[in-house]
Symmetry: C2
Subunit: 386 residues, 2 copies
């Protein structure tokens, strides 16, 4: 059933005959499986009229409004709760600013209050909640649902986040780190699905630089859960000491604090808005600093094409909107630097969900589980909604 | 049968009871499958006496001498043909020096003559040839068996190497590029098997720097066949122009020509032996050049741990023997630079097969096919040996 649901997700709208072609299953099996999916409310049928004689075909689609998903993103400067439908459209979103010193338990109470309200709304509308996902800075022990020692995120070290949230909400929580959930937002709801490419690198550029690498549709974890730490590619050997312990990481020169430290080491209060205003005003030191930032970014993106050979690179994060207008130039330089045989494949896209990327990514974790294990997830939903 | 053969390869010597545990197959199925593998000559039984009462257990092992494999490596300065057994031990090896201007057809005639002699020897000893593998500089179109435009390898552009060799030898050839075959030598015959780790990065350092990344036992190819181009990680942004089109690649500073250009730009005839003699003689310019080379290597290895998060990194190639004595220092610096949670996992090993790495790797391609599709490969062997 997982394979059929995944095929429908990938190529909808699709007729049963096309599904037989696609899956190599018998038409009897397809009829039964799609009937089960229709009964579960995951699919809907629409009629399509084609050709001059008006032949009508019954097409299957995801029934995007049949279930709601709640995605929680807890970040260093805010938390956000979104409600989405089955195709990642945001139906409701609420963001609360916090600062680095806010107590985790206080954050959790705030999060839980919003989630409980969203859950009531969903059940008042006679809708079903498919599940709740959580996105939070890594690294973490995914199996135990416990944070490790996330950089720049004091008070949260070794915090048993999953247990704490599950006990407050009475539902199982599926979680991952914010770079990976952001990547999975693209996998299940964004560019990866639209372009039918299931191997890509997602980069989030903001106060830090993180990454998530999806290969053949799966997020790659690596041997210690550290695969894809693209912000910690050395770009200035022997350079500035990074929080990770290495020197000259891309994050030390390419993140918001990295840019500001280089532009104006004296003034610790300048913001990234100030910096880009200075660039617009053609301030020479800001222009030089930007030029270096872009060159480092081009170097690193070239490295990423050479080490991961992805179908595309998708970039998001708080810094990215300021850089977006430079993408044509960046793409041009990267194209000139990668292997000749890869030059026509240099695709750089902007993240699909703006400032809600991680929260939508948290919701996409739930959708991913549905596609991989539809029967288990639906059983759980029915139990929870009874 | 593939799964059982792979389990035996991985954990031999192994009893049938242990195989039932390992594979979750029934003991009847294991009895039948191992009987087939014994009949095919791939396994042998040995008796193991354990415990004080001298209980005897029948253990299964790979019958390493049952089949021979021929591995061909065609490089820029020599070609080599090895005959190995089923566990990658070299039984016979012959190397012929060539220069960059040697005509490909002349190389092929030389290769074919040696291979034919090896084939006769194998059949004179009533042994069976499992297959022939080929290793050659990439990039290549693996499906068509045609080289693309390998750097530093004139005359070989767009050469239909597989067709040319198959027509001369009358056997199917399985091929891959030299960095990947070298990695697969470790996968099937070397460290990866010994350490029971199936995710690692293999680096070959010589006139160029290449890489092969194995994840969950599979060599990763990427979207354009360019995954794992570790020599083309940017380490000096805006640095020297590399053959690949990028600037400041690790290859431009870390390869043999890169070191020699930096050490002694005037003298184009100095060799890497000269350089390391000068280092031993404490020549200050050589010592400075070596220090920079090692720092770039440490930076890049840190990057590799951060992007691929492998269980281990294995290094080989013509340059590596000169660097091997520095590995403790390199490991120490890399350990200090990777993520705290990965520090205890920084494992750097030397390649297992010295100067014959690529040729043994070519042979390992054949072994890999046997493990993945044992029935097909054995059918083909029986046809060819009839």
């Amino acid at each position: 059933m997982s394979q059929v649901l995944k095929d429908i997700w990938r190529i909808e709208p699709v007729s049963r005959i096309e599904l037989v072609d696609e899956t190599k299953l018998t038409s009897g099996t397809i009829t039964n499986l799609t009937l089960d999916l229709l009964k579960a409310g995951l699919l809907k049928e629409t009629e399509l009229t084609t050709g001059s004689v008006g032949r009508r075909r019954v097409m299957l689609r995801l029934n995007e409004m049949s279930f709601k998903i709640i995605g929680i993103d807890i970040g260093r400067s805010s938390y956000e709760v979104v409600t989405t439908n089955l195709i990642g459209q945001i139906l409701d979103s609420q963001e609360v600013l916090i600062d680095r010193d806010t107590d985790p338990l206080q954050v959790l109470e705030g999060v839980a209050a919003i989630v409980r309200k969203s859950m009531s709304q969903i059940s008042e509308q006679n809708d079903k909640l498919l599940g709740i996902g959580l996105s939070i800075p890594g690294p973490m022990n995914l199996k135990e649902g416990v944070l490790l020692v996330p950089p720049n995120f004091p008070h949260w070290e070794h915090f048993e986040i999953r247990k704490e949230l599950e006990s407050r909400l009475g539902r199982r929580i599926v979680m991952n780190d914010d770079a990976r959930t952001s990547a999975l937002a693209e996998r299940w709801f964004g560019h990866s699905r639209k372009l039918k490419e299931d191997s890509f690198v997602y980069i989030t550029m903001g106060h830090g630089i993180g990454g998530g690498v999806v290969s053949n549709g799966e997020i790659i974890l690596g041997n210690n859960g550290l695969y894809g730490q693209v912000g910690h590619i050395t770009v200035v050997p022997g350079g500035e000491l990074c929080e990770c312990g290495n020197r000259g990481c891309w994050e030390t020169v390419g993140s918001i604090p990295g840019i500001l430290r280089r532009w104006n080491p004296e003034n610790k209060n300048s913001t990234i808005e100030d910096f880009f205003k200075a660039v617009q005003a053609k301030d020479p030191s800001a222009e030089r600093c930007l030029e270096w930032t872009l060159q480092m970014m081009e170097s690193t993106l070239t490295t990423l094409f050479n080490v991961y050979d992805p179908a595309l690179i998708i970039i998001g994060g708080k810094l990215y909107p300021y850089l977006e207008s430079y993408v044509p130039r960046i793409r041009h330089h990267v194209q000139a630097s990668v292997y000749p045989s890869a030059r026509s494949h240099v695709i750089i896209e902007s993240a699909s969900f703006g400032t809600s990327q991680s929260a939508v990514g948290a919701a996409s974790l739930v959708f991913g589980e549905l596609v991989e294990r539809p029967l288990d997830v639906l059983d759980e939903v029915n139990m929870a909604n009874e």
